[in-house]
Structure formats: structure tokens, C-alpha cells
Amino acid sequence: MMRRVYMDHTAGKPVDPRVLEAMLPYFSEMFGNPSSLNRWGNEARKAVEDARAKLASLIGAKRSEEIFFTSGGTESNNLTIRGVAYRNKDKGNHIVTTEIEHMSVMNTCKSLLKEGFDLTFVPVDKYGVVNLQALEKAITDKTILVSVMYANGEIGTLQPIKEVGEIVHRKGVLLHVDAVAASGQVPINVENENIDLMSISSNDMYGPRGVGASYIKTGTRVQPIIFGGGQEKGLRSGTENVPAIVGMGKAAEIAKAEMKTEGEMLSNLRDKLIEGLIQNIPRSFLNGHPTKRLPNNANVRFSYIEGESLLLSLDVLGVAASSGSACTSKTLEPSHVLLAIGLKHEEAHGSLLFTLGKQNTEEDVDYVVKALPDIVKRLRSISPLTPKELLS
């Protein structure tokens, strides 16, 4: 049978079997509604609060009441950004964010433009690190929120969040951090890193999809965006998705215990993959920061060829990856992240993103490192852009 190598973990991760096991009883046996005043309800309430405490512990929150469950990273980003904007309108109408945010931050911010808010997008350097001087300059007396991601899921670059927070707080503004790509992968401490609001995803920690969380520091003014029965202290109405919340809690518990060993294992594989590709393929380059990057992220670009044809060729050999090429996106635009780090369109088209997971092995990396040079060579032989000296 053909070898199968899944290196597309930023798109989706399998649920950890221990997570699934923890969730199962809450579908059929302990199915109560946490709001019900009966033993079924109490059981479910206890499970939700237990999960909340595990999330708080993972990110170093002082109190578990600072965790609010949502339907996922996208909703968390919507809730925190829109919620802060609406609730603090009396203080100002300006939001600062970066050029490399996830679409759920980007488009939430842009949607606020139509409602009278102003936006500033702060640039990043060639590694994708936010320009702190530009960030500081962007903050005005009208600014009510700064939103900077913890790590970029595409190029892997980690941001200096603590320093960002110092600047933002010195100006008396709130800091929101989209930690969807980072939570459970790298240690985060909301207290030490000056974070007021943070978005967390479950699937990125091997938990189920359809659940996420917002960290909202006590005293931070946020208006709900979903109205109803007043669950989650009125900030997020809707009956709690108890099995998913239990799963996310278990995933957070496992992440906290295993992050260090898993991170070391993944960064070894990542470096082996990056080195293997860059050394064996001429005109190949790493996208993102060489060291300040997510332990599972290897984003490499190859000149003269296009990412979708790379993905198809890899898929034929059983390897799953992603690309920042326009041809793989719904909008037919290359990744805004790759353009923001200064790549030309044609360079962005040739980018390949491998995101590793805990099931990946050295053999998986060897397989990809062995397969890709021939794929690149073949596609370059077809491309009219390839210089003659590379074709021999």
C-alpha cells in the first residue's frame, strides 16, 4: 500500500483518542443541560466548569471565570473584537491590527469600517514579525483595541506579544491576541504577557471542532454579539455544547502536560524537514522566521513553479500539505500573509506549507524529503520561467 503522510495539521487535526473517550459519556448518558436545576444539569454544569478550569490553567489565567466558551476560533475573534468595539465606542473608534492576521480577525475588523470605526494595519518585517515602532505610532487617543496574533498559522512566525502588550498598555489600550494557531503548541501566560483578551481553538489542540474559547480578563468591557438565554454570564447565549467543551478541556489538560516533549519532538522533525528540502532543492527558501516559529510549521517556497501543481503531485504520492498559492484559494488571490512579508505574487504562488502533528515520524519526513526534489524538477522542466542552467 502507498505510504500516507499527513502534514496538513493547520487545516485540521485528528481528535486525540483520550479526548474522544472523555467526550463520549456526555452525548448520551450525561446529556443534561448545565442550566437545569436537577442532577442531570448539575453533572453537566460540573463538567463545563471543570473544562473551564483546565483552559484557565493552560493559559495562566488567574480565574477560570475569565474563560468563555464559543463555537470556535472564528467566533472568539468576532466576539472579542466586535464586543470590545461596541462596548467601548464612547472611548474611541480606532482599532489597530497587523497585515498578517487570520481572515476571522481581518474581515471582522474590516466589517467594522462600515459601522464608523477606523482601522490601521501595522506592517511586518520579512520574517513576519510585527514592527513595534509602527505599532506604537499607530495607536492614537481614539484607539480602543489592538489585535495581534500570537503565532501565524501559515508562516509559523511567533510575535513578541509581551513587548506588544507593554506598548499597548502604556498607551492605555486593550490588547486582543488571536492565539488559535499557538494555543496548546507553545506556552502562553496571559498574565505575564499582558494579554487582555485572547481567542483559543480546540481542534488546534487535538480537541473536537465546533468549540473554542475566549479569554476575557476580569474588568474588560465586552458586549455580547449573540443574544438569548444568557449563558456564559450573558456574553455568549446558547445552550452549552457540553461534549465538545469537555473535549476541549481534556485537550487543554493534555496539551499542558505534553507540550514540552511534543514541542521538542515536532521542532526536531520540522528542522529536519526544512533542512532536507532547502539543501536538496536549488532555489528553495524558508518562509517565516528561522527560529521564532511554531514547532510544527515548515513553509518553503520554490522558484519558477506553482503551489497547486506541487500539492497535486504530492497527493499522488500520498502526502497532504497546503499552499499559499492563489490557485488553492477561493478568492484566487495569493496569501495576504506571503505578500505582507514582501514576496512577489509569483514567489507566493510557489509556496508549500507542511504542518506536522504528533503522529508524524522521522520516516514521514524522509519520505517527503526524498519525494519532493523530483517533483520540483519535473514541474520546473515544464515551466517556461525556469532558467536553462537549472534544467540540466
Binding site: 497547486e308 497535486l312 498559492s325 495569493p334 517556461p384
Partner: protein, 125 residues
């Protein structure tokens, strides 16, 4: 997302390469958009004696380039000019809707190569 036919032409492209002494060359697309295609033709009398391509682009761009060379080879210039984008897609068993516009450039490339040939021929007279 692609048909077997598309994957076959992507994996084993026909008539891939350049014709150094081509009678006509057509280049369409733009690397900025992610697709760039060059078609080379050799003309004998009023027929396409040989045709080759080089393409930078996605799977659909490579497969349509390969398919156009199969459809056009041996045809008269007049018949080759009639090959449409739709013919290329149909002969590949269809393309995903999003690829119909951006990557289905091969017919344009062929037409550009024939026009280049006719222009050069006109200049010689």
C-alpha cells in the same frame, strides 16, 4: 476535484517542451496571476506539423496545455483557430468552475501562436 483525464494530462503531459526554430510562438497569462503558458508551433503548408508547450501554473493549466497540443496537432490553421476554451475543457471531462476562467488559457495560447505565425509570414511577403 479534477477528473482522471485532467490528472492523466497533468502527470503525463503530451508534447511538453520548446521548438527552437518555431514558426510561431504564443505566450498568454501572467506569472503574477499564477498561470503563464507558451505555445510553440511548426507549420507545414496550411497544417500544424508540430506543437509544443511550456507552462507555469496549476494542475489545470498544465493539463489544458497538454490537451490543446493533442487537439491541434495535424489540423489546418483554420480548424485550429476554431478550437475553443470549451473544447479543451470538454475533452478533459470538464474543469472545476473556478478554473474555467483563470487556468483555461491554452486555446488563447494556440490562437496567439498562429497569429504570430501569420504576422511573421505577412511580414516576409
Amino acid at each position: 476535484m479534477y477528473t482522471e483525464k485532467v490528472m492523466d494530462h497533468f502527470k503525463n503531459p503530451r508534447n511538453m517542451g520548446e521548438i527552437p526554430d518555431a514558426d510561431g510562438v504564443g505566450t498568454v497569462g501572467n506569472p503574477v496571476c499564477g498561470d503563464l503558458m507558451t505555445i510553440y508551433i511548426k507549420v507545414n503548408g496550411d497544417r500544424l506539423e508540430d506543437i509544443k508547450f511550456k507552462t507555469f501554473g496549476c494542475g489545470a493549466a498544465i493539463a489544458t496545455s497538454s490537451m490543446i497540443t493533442e487537439l491541434a496537432k495535424g489540423k489546418t490553421l483554420e480548424d485550429a483557430m476554431k478550437i475553443s476554451r470549451g473544447d479543451v475543457a470538454d475533452n478533459l471531462g470538464g474543469l472545476p468552475p473556478i478554473k474555467m476562467h483563470c487556468s483555461n488559457l491554452a486555446a488563447d495560447g494556440l490562437h496567439a501562436a498562429i497569429q504570430d505565425y501569420l504576422k511573421k509570414k505577412g511580414a516576409q511577403k
